[in-house]
């Protein structure tokens, strides 16, 4: 057997039915296996089929050439990936169904008898049928048309499944991807400040049988209490900076700065003690020189913290440039300009406070540090 490649056009014109199993194996554009393609090529060249005896292959093929002058697109051009032969078969099937439908309609038309000379009102109504069918045939025609439309619908549905199936699958996969990619929960917010009053007012609306409206309410208030928490203490800097290469000179004072941040939701007092200090080859340390106690507080934000922003916090009722937390009433224990605040582990410095904005709020401007 002489092996030779076959073009899609040649195979289409030959109109050799190709089994689906062969199509899946095929590398040929029309879905033929290497064996099938070379065999057809040989048949086209010699005009003989080696398998089926002396019968000329072209003679067998010609009667099947119902689309003689039309080149069936190669497999890759078909939207659902079918071969040219499958498209050809589908066209033939549809033609067959169409002609079957036409035959049925013609049959009904032929049954229609001439209209009687004297028309009853009912017949007059029926005589409006554009095909001129008799009364009995009109209803029969309608029934058949319904059946035919159902058949058409089924064919269309089948086509949609064939052609749109893969597309729908891809859209489904994308939707899933979108859900997975964009479905992450939002970041948690800071805790509610101590002393905040959370009021819940429930309302009931109802009607009487006579459709008169009534209403009633009930209220309960919960106060957020202080939750004490261990503060965060961290080393910040030392002045002058001492290194191995450049140690601090003797008889020189060294200042070490530490930061302390409250992790509670309200005002708390912290006592700073010097503990665990060991003096080696140096004189006695002076220890903590600043205040040994510090008040730290917390408040609630009405907007999300950003790097540099103006936010609003509950107003403490006194326009004095200091924002006291909800549980604190003593001046000097609140937030003032140049204080640092921590939100979610990020440090911000308060640059300005405005307590005249109204609506029970104070404006607080800060910058990330």
């Amino acid at each position: 057997m002489k092996k030779r490649a076959i073009t899609s056009r040649q195979a289409s014109q030959a109109a050799i039915p190709v089994m689906p199993a062969i199509r899946t194996k095929a590398r040929d554009p029309d879905g033929m296996s290497g064996f099938g393609a070379s065999e057809v090529a040989t048949q086209l060249q010699t005009g003989k089929s080696k398998k089926k005896g002396p019968e000329n292959f072209r003679a067998r093929a010609r009667p099947l050439q119902i689309e003689k002058n039309r080149v069936i697109p190669a497999r890759s051009r078909a939207p659902n990936g079918v071969s040219g032969f499958s498209v050809l078969r589908e066209i033939a099937n549809r033609k067959k169904k169409r002609s079957s439908m036409n035959r049925k309609v013609e049959k009904f038309r032929s049954r229609a008898g001439p209209l009687p000379a004297v028309r009853s009102p009912a017949i007059r109504a029926r005589s409006r049928d554009p095909d001129g069918l008799s009364a009995a045939n009109v209803s029969e025609k309608k029934t058949t048309e319904r059946q035919l439309s159902k058949i058409k619908e089924k064919i269309m549905q089948k086509n949609q499944l064939q052609f749109n199936g893969p597309v729908k699958a891809i859209i489904g996969a994308l939707a899933l991807t979108v859900l997975v990619a964009f479905g992450a929960p939002q970041a948690a917010h800071a805790s509610t400040a101590a002393g905040t009053k959370l009021t819940n007012t429930v309302t009931v609306d109802y009607k009487s049988v006579g459709n008169v409206s009534y209403s009633d309410t009930a209220t309960v208030t919960v106060t957020v209490s202080l939750v004490e928490a261990k503060p965060t203490v961290a080393f910040v800097s030392q002045t002058p900076v001492a290194t191995v290469a450049s140690p601090t000179d003797e008889n020189t004072a060294v200042a070490q700065t530490y930061s302390i941040y409250s992790n509670s939701n309200g005002s708390e007092q912290f006592t700073i003690n010097q503990a665990g200090f060991t003096a080696t080859n140096i004189g006695a340390a002076t220890g903590v020189t600043a205040s040994s106690t510090v008040w730290l507080g917390a408040t609630a934000l009405t907007t999300k913290a950003t790097a540099s922003a103006t936010v609003y916090v509950p107003y403490d009722g006194t326009n004095d440039g200091e924002i006291l937390t909800n549980s604190e009433t003593t001046a000097g224990r609140g937030i003032v300009a140049n204080d640092y605040v921590m939100i979610g582990g990020t440090k911000y410095q308060v640059t300005a406070i405005d307590e005249t904005v109204g609506n029970g709020l104070a404006e607080l401007t800060w910058m990330q540090r």
Binding site: T192, L198, V202, V204, Y206, K207, V209, V222
Partner: protein, 163 residues
Amino acid sequence: MRRVLSVVIFLSFFLVAPIAAWAKPAIVLEISTAKLVVENIEGREVRKFVPTNQAEPGQTLIYTIKYRNDGDETATNVVIDDPIPQGMSYLPGSASDKGELTFSIDGGQTYKKPSLLTYEITNSDGSREKRTASPEQYTNIRWQLPEVAAGTGDEVSFQVKVK
């Protein structure tokens, strides 16, 4: 005789009519708060709600709403609407499944079932994206009851977490 009967009927109308006019439903509401307390009793974890008016951040609270129709007529189209207080977030699945239960994410302007509560955001490229609201975004809870008969009552509840 007929005249006497007419007079009796006429007078009866004036006696009964005011009584009928007085009949009306009167639903009384009560709301209470309790906090979830977990105790270890003889090696077993016991969870119970204790009435309170104080709460700590992270604590679970239960709001119980009792309603009772003290009137002498059935109340119809009963709608119980409870805004979730700011500083609290609704715990999913905790609301009593009574009547038609819906939620709002726009402060009570519209109410829908949780699966239908969606909102749109604008991405940086200008495209719009629809998202399903999470329970933390719920602002209101609503129970709709067809009717509450006179002299009857019940309760609904839901749980929140203090932020």
